[in-house]
Symmetry: C2
Subunit: 341 residues, 2 copies
DNA sequence: TTGAAAGCGTTACCAG
DNA sequence: CTGGTAACGCTTTCAA
């Protein structure tokens, strides 16, 4: 059994309250007593029971994070930034993965509510925000990241997904691609935003967006690479096949490149490929991958800052939306040298 | 304010105890009452306060995980497996990162002890187990992963690090390398074990282990790639330079390959390179990387199973050590075709 | 089948 | 400066 304040108090012949005050640096305790308490605390290696404290103060110093997949470097980075920032302020982070399954996610959220978290950060796998309405009412303040819901007014930190689509598609046009395909993402805000950026850019630049050039995977965040390869194989059967591909994420792009090589074609000469995410190993790939940087680290940092502001404010502040701008990173997979007509 | 059992009880005109019993499926409650309670619970979306429950039952249903770096796919995988397995049994996982800093780690551990976790899983950054002695006494049962301490009898799940060194070094010898270098890891059990496997294999095969061929990075788990490149550059200045390199981990190997190319040499013709970890993108690299598979998923799974057994046993069971066997995965970075003399 | 009382480890409030 | 008392939300024990 761990040491409690009661043990300390009994041993020293003082009251529990006195011990409690010393531990929280209350002013009104005599130096002598304070020292005696502190010494014994150290000797017995006493650590306050945070659950008990939380029960009376109403604060648990626990923050929850729900992501689809910790193996995905994007979410791992978020988890890392968030964890680092919160730890510094004395909060613990508890992490759940939803495996991109809305049902699992909802059950996780319920479990987390039982913990009476002080705040919640979610990259939701849900396609509609019904589950969040409940949280909004009963649960702690929360921050959405990466994915959001247009119909739900909430705190949100993410990237400008339309800009991602615009940057990628414009770049492919700039390097001379004529038939640009899109391996699209899921039916959530990033998937839809990037698709919109792609479509808008094509029409603005007076290029046709043939529906057969837009390809949807069954599952995206898990097994992206396999989906990318599969979808690309289909696209290459078309006549004419695309000469440029914008992929929803980098793993899909890696899969696509794999399929292109498999078909005996070259990247970028026959087909230029660009992804999104700018993973840290993109530059070391067989064909170094052009990508759209998603400012992952910054998203984590901002999410952490926003979460801390929620934690520290007395009232529930107005929802805040932070949209970061993506950046084009050009590597070999789209470097076609002089414009080929 | 969240709904409490008191609210339910008052509303229904029953006692709190009755509500409590219904929620925990106690037998001795009338069907009528049970139904009324259950209905209201659902209507009010009541969720039990786990902290309060934990205070009286002594179990928090919280498990802690401490890893050096969540961005490292190895630890991300562990976190994912562990989280998945524990969640299924009703436990939450709280994750801390130590950034490979023993001081930070110790502070984290103390904070976690305050949470009165039911169990703890640690990939420790400490070089001596002093901090763990305290936990052993006061804290919850714990499982070490990846790194362990010879002087500390504890639960442990990891790979046979000597075998990693043996497999990698033997393979380099088998493909005809004559001067085999080792970019070694840190001063913990994996670093030392792999070094030992390397040295033992060389002497067994009657090859000399020149000290200058053994290179130590300053920091390993962070910035492995940069260290790998730096160390390799030094090695290439030697006369004669090595013609085979066994790297502590895959990112270091990627950095090493980078440096080799930079020097105008070829992989594997001039220098064969093998890493360890078998990261999921190894096959898509510029030079697909030979590696030693570390059974990451299995480690996570076994760690989860061992942790659950600790959680479910009444008494503290005898320490258990689980050592998994690594496997050689050959790719282009060591494929030299017919033996070159 | 139900509930009253005690207690888990802590803090808030107020009296001495 | 110090400490008694009540309370946080829940479970356990035992009596009705």
């Amino acid at each position: 059994m761990p040491v409690t304040m009661k043990d300390i108090a009994r041993e020293l012949g003082v009251s529990i309250v006195t011990v409690s005050k010393v531990l929280r640096n209350h002013e009104d305790i005599g130096d002598e007593t304070r020292k005696r308490v502190l010494d014994l605390v150290k000797e017995l290696k006493y650590t306050p029971n945070l659950a008990a404290r939380g029960l009376v103060t109403g604060r648990t110093y626990l923050v929850g994070l729900v992501v689809p997949d910790l193996l995905h470097p994007f979410f791992a980075q978020i988890a890392k930034s968030l964890s680092g920032a919160l730890l510094k302020k004395g909060y613990c982070l508890t992490i759940s993965t939803s495996e991109d399954d809305p049902d699992l996610e909802e059950r996780e959220l319920e479990r987390l509510l039982g913990r009476r978290l002080d705040a919640l950060v979610i990259a939701s796998s849900c396609t509609n925000p019904a589950a969040f309405e409940d949280i909004l009412k009963q649960g702690p303040p929360f921050v959405l990241i990466d994915r959001h819901f247009v119909s739900l007014d909430s705190n949100y930190v993410g990237i400008d997904d339309e800009a991602v689509g615009v940057l990628a598609t414009s770049h492919l046009i700039d390097v001379g691609c004529k038939r640009i395909a899109h391996l699209r993402g899921p039916e959530n805000s990033p998937g839809q935003g990037r698709l919109k950026g792609y479509l808008d850019t094509l029409s603005k630049r007076r290029m046709s967006a043939s529906p057969q050039y837009i390809s949807s995977p069954r599952r995206v965040d898990v097994q992206s690479r396999e989906s990318g390869a599969d979808l690309m194989r289909q696209l290459l059967k078309l006549d004419p096949p695309p000469d440029g591909v914008f992929c929803y994420n980098d793993p899909m792009a890696i899969g696509a490149i794999h399929a292109i090589h498999e078909a005996g074609l070259r990247v970028p000469e026959d087909v230029a490929v660009i992804g999104s995410g700018n993973l840290h190993y993109d530059s070391e790939l067989r064909v170094p991958l052009s990508s759209i940087d998603q400012q992952t680290e910054l998203i984590g940092e901002r999410a952490a800052r926003l979460t801390l502001s929620l934690l520290e404010s007395k009232v529930r502040p107005r929802s805040k939306t932070i949209i970061l701008q993506p950046e084009l990173v050009v590597r070999a997979s789209t470097e076609r040298g002089p414009q080929t007509k």
